[in-house]
């Protein structure tokens, strides 16, 4: 006996609409975006204005433009002035003795005689007394060699550190040093 079963009819699945009817939806999105941008900008602006007006180093000029406060401008000028009044110096041995040697390849101390260079350096005004209080204990003298702009002093310092290698006081050593005993690097 041949039973036949009718083929099931496919169920018609309703297709979602290809293009939703969302004109209003789009309009809503556009308005929301515009509002969002406007709010963001206003928030940023408000925060910016509150920001610089709330600190003590910025003030508004006559027309409301932000500028540094008088105190801040004066501090800047003072520090620039210090940079224009730098000193290049040498620390030299005040007496014969063994001084720490940071550039000696195989020893920690080196014998220096009075007047021999221990270190070259640069200082600017305002530095907390770099060596004053330790000169005496370290048996050193501070010898000012050049004054002027800090850049000029730094160049001279570097020149002297390198040229130390061929100073007579260094050449006489069994093992001349590459740089002064107190200079750990070439600056």
């Amino acid at each position: 006996m041949n039973a036949t079963f009718p083929k099931p009819r496919p169920i018609a699945v309703p297709m979602p609409p290809l293009r939703p009817n969302n004109g209003k939806y789009l309009l809503f999105c556009a308005i929301a975006c515009i509002l969002g941008v406007v709010l963001y900008l206003r928030m940023g602006a408000d925060e910016g204005e509150e920001g610089w007006r709330s600190v003590d180093f910025i003030e508004a000029d006559e027309v409301g433009t932000p500028q540094l406060t008088e105190a801040r401008r004066r501090k800047l000028e003072r520090e620039l002035e210090k940079l224009r009044n730098a000193e290049q110096y040498a620390l030299i041995a005040a007496k014969s003795g063994y001084y720490p040697c940071y550039s000696c390849p195989d020893t920690t101390h080196i014998l220096l005689y009075p007047g021999e260079v221990w270190k070259y350096g640069v200082t600017v005004g305002g530095e907390k007394r770099r060596y004053g209080q330790s000169l005496t204990r370290r048996g050193l003298l501070y010898l000012r060699q050049l004054t002027g702009e800090v850049q000029v002093c730094l160049e001279e310092e570097k020149r002297k550190i390198y040229q130390y290698a061929i100073l007579p006081e260094n050449l006489k050593r069994h093992k001349p040093l590459k740089r002064p005993p107190g200079n750990k690097v070439d600056r």
Binding site: N85, A94, K95, G125, G132, Q133, R137, L140, L141, L143
Partner: protein, 147 residues
């Protein structure tokens, strides 16, 4: 830079100098002051408040760039008096070494006489100044004032 007390002594001297003043102030005057004071006076005879007195003479040509100032302080933890004093460059330039020594001795004594202002505990700075003055007079280092 950590200070290494290589040449520690109760009385210590140094200088902030230029090429023009180096020889007259440092060699041999600084060393002479230091050796004489350390040989003739014992700091512990004046109390336990001070273990050392360090003095740096400043003799630099003008203009003064303000980097090196005079100071007189007492460092309580180290029990050290530190003095940084200026001596007039024009005098150093025109004086010979002996006169510069007198200038240094006078300036140093003036600094000692100001120690009383620091009110250092357990230290008789007045008696120290008097003894230093007597010592300097004996050495001929204090210029006598002429009427």
């Amino acid at each position: 830079m950590k200070s290494e007390a290589i040449f520690f002594a109760p009385f210590m001297f140094s200088g902030i100098l230029s090429e023009e003043t180096l020889q007259k102030v440092a060699f041999p005057n600084n060393n002479m002051l230091e050796q004489t004071l350390n040989a003739q006076l014992q700091l512990d005879q004046y109390g336990t408040g001070v273990h050392s007195i360090a003095c740096v003479f400043i003799a630099l040509p003008p203009p003064d760039n303000g980097i090196h100032d005079e100071t007189l302080i007492y460092r309580r933890r180290e029990k050290e008096v530190f003095a940084q004093v200026k001596i007039p460059y024009d005098l150093v330039a025109s004086y010979d070494a002996d006169q510069v020594l007198q200038l240094m001795a006078t300036t140093y004594l003036q600094a000692l006489e100001r120690l009383d202002e620091l009110r250092i505990p357990n230290f008789d700075s007045v008696r120290l100044a008097q003894d230093v003055q007597r010592l300097f007079e004996t050495q001929g280092w204090l210029a006598r004032e002429t009427a």
